[in-house]
Subunit: 308 residues, 2 copies
DNA sequence: CATCGTGATAAGTTTTGCTTATGTTAAACG
DNA sequence: CGTTTAACATAAGCAAAACTTATCACGATG
């Protein structure tokens, strides 16, 4: 089998340009015999002579001309390849596929997406909104680079980093606004509206209410926090929402927000990725951008709810 | 400077295809450490990881995917390069630029061109018709591969091979058809029509007539043998034409052909090329095709002129 | 917990490729 | 017409690259 090397192609191109072994060799930073040998090897492999050596002239054969004509584009493509690498090595660049759970995505995305694409110029951000289980599956299959969800996950193959903690707030009908905040244990007797099965936020809420066995009879499942809040506004019950959703979701509903006394329910939001992902360092940078973006924002939203 | 090799690109492509170091290595006919090392070197040079190694899974990084996507076309181009060489090595193929002098071209070309393109399938024949001096110049400059002209040339850098010898015939007005053929020395007193300056055939004719100094007064210069013959038919004088031109040029003119007694004037037609031309062997084959084609043809034309 | 699959690493050997020095050939020059 | 010069080929020696075999390390799996 033939075994042409890029070196030979570079030498051949130089020789074609300079029409002179010595100068071509100098241009390639090697000595003339080195270049001569490579050209000779190349010609031997090809079975045809590329260069017609005269005593004082060097000229391409017809075949050599056709050959060199094709060599140029090849070498340029290889150079592009090296450029591609150089462009990618320092900062995160190109496609980043990030999954976010539904109780985070709509609130986090608007403030974070802009900062990410500003920080990482040339970043091609792909976001997928799915339940935790599906995100973890896609992460394992390599169809996602990272995911933002509620910690802990506890998968051994996944690296977890915390982004921020946030409280859960009680959402009541506006008519209840001035009532005292019920203690934790009182919740189990109230009509608690929850997200449908599969949302981790549902489990976290149930956990806080110390309601071991879900009682489907009494709870209407909503497919989004937005729906739940509207249901509360209609007097169908109460619900919990994470703090980051508060200002958005309660703006257009007749509901009142209340903060629980300690122990306050809360969740830890974090980012995960495969431990084997070589973009780990860049993903840490992404995590930091999210942290920086959300830190002030979370605090600001907390101030909107009087501590009751 | 980066120094990516084709070998690395081939290994990377194989690894991307097989998703497995061992199998990719086998496909490349090397051992796994060899392939591993090359991939590692490649990644180090690029400054980015191409493959994400899991314990049981191997997956392309986003960068690796973009990289391999570009590698395919490059490797295919290189393979095409090797195909090009294989196609060219056995027989003459591709462009052949051949120069022919005007007193040969129109007669030789029709019978030879067909035979050449039949013999050398895929031959791309380019013919240039010029005077000897211009042909030699173009040959030296590499703008022609070979030339067919009258020998000898005597250039040290040129290889000469004979193709055939041919007589010069006397062209007289038809009214002179039955007169005896004038002896060589009588020609200098006749009104001899010749080609314009620069044609070697002019010099050869003059040489035969032993007319050292051309006498422009008495000679009208024609730019082609065809014109000369027509002038003879109009009674303006006599001329000489090479045998191969005889049947074509005298068919439509009121002239008579006559063969000289010994010593008959003649010329040797041959082929020349640069000694450094690597196509020498193939050019010898071309010469042989021309010889074979013309041998019978010259003899046949000779029979048309009675030996007087 | 032991085993297996898989890639990384180590040591040793072959191959490649480079450099310096010298040979060869043909054109150019006096 | 012999000498010089230009230019590529060849030779010898050496350094670096690349391959092979053998072994290690690690995580998944039963």
């Amino acid at each position: 089998m033939l075994n042409v090397t890029l070196k030979q192609l570079r030498y051949a191109e130089a020789l074609a340009r300079h029409q002179h072994f010595g100068r071509a060799a100098a241009a390639c930073s090697v000595t003339q015999p080195a270049l001569s040998a490579q050209i000779k090897d190349l010609e031997t492999m090809l079975g045809s002579v590329l260069f017609e050596r005269g005593a004082r002239t060097l000229r391409l054969t017809a075949f050599g001309e056709a050959f060199v004509e094709r060599v140029g584009p090849i070498l340029r493509s290889v150079d592009e390849l090296e450029d591609l690498a150089r462009a990618a090595q320092d900062r995160l660049i190109g496609r980043l596929r990030i999954g976010i759970i539904p109780t985070i995505a709509p609130y986090l995305l608007p403030v974070v997406a802009r900062n990410l694409t500003d920080t990482f110029e040339g970043l091609d951000l792909h976001v997928r909104e799915s339940l935790t289980s599906k995100l973890l599956e896609e992460l394992a299959e390599g169809r996602l680079d990272t995911a933002i969800l509620a910690l802990p996950i506890g998968e051994p193959g996944l690296q977890e980093v915390a982004l921020f903690d946030e409280e859960f707030l009680l959402v009541r009908p506006l008519s209840d606004a001035n009532k005292p905040v019920p203690p934790q244990e009182a919740l189990r007797h109230m009509k608690l509206l929850l997200l449908e099965e599969g949302h981790c936020f549902r489990d976290q809420a149930l956990s806080f209410c110390e309601t071991q066995a879900p009682r489907p009879r009494e709870m209407l499942d909503g497919s989004s926090l937005s729906t739940l809040v509207q249901m509360v506004g209609a007097g169908m019950g109460v619900t919990l929402i994470p703090q980051m959703a508060a200002s958005v979701e309660t703006r257009s509903a007749a509901v009142a927000l209340a903060r629980f006394q300690a122990p306050q329910p809360q969740r830890r939001v974090g980012m995960v990725w495969r431990r084997t992902n070589p973009l780990a360092e860049q993903l840490q940078q992404v995590a930091q951008v999210v942290r920086d973006t959300t830190a002030a924002w979370i605090a600001e939203q907390a101030g909107e709810v009087e501590p009751v």
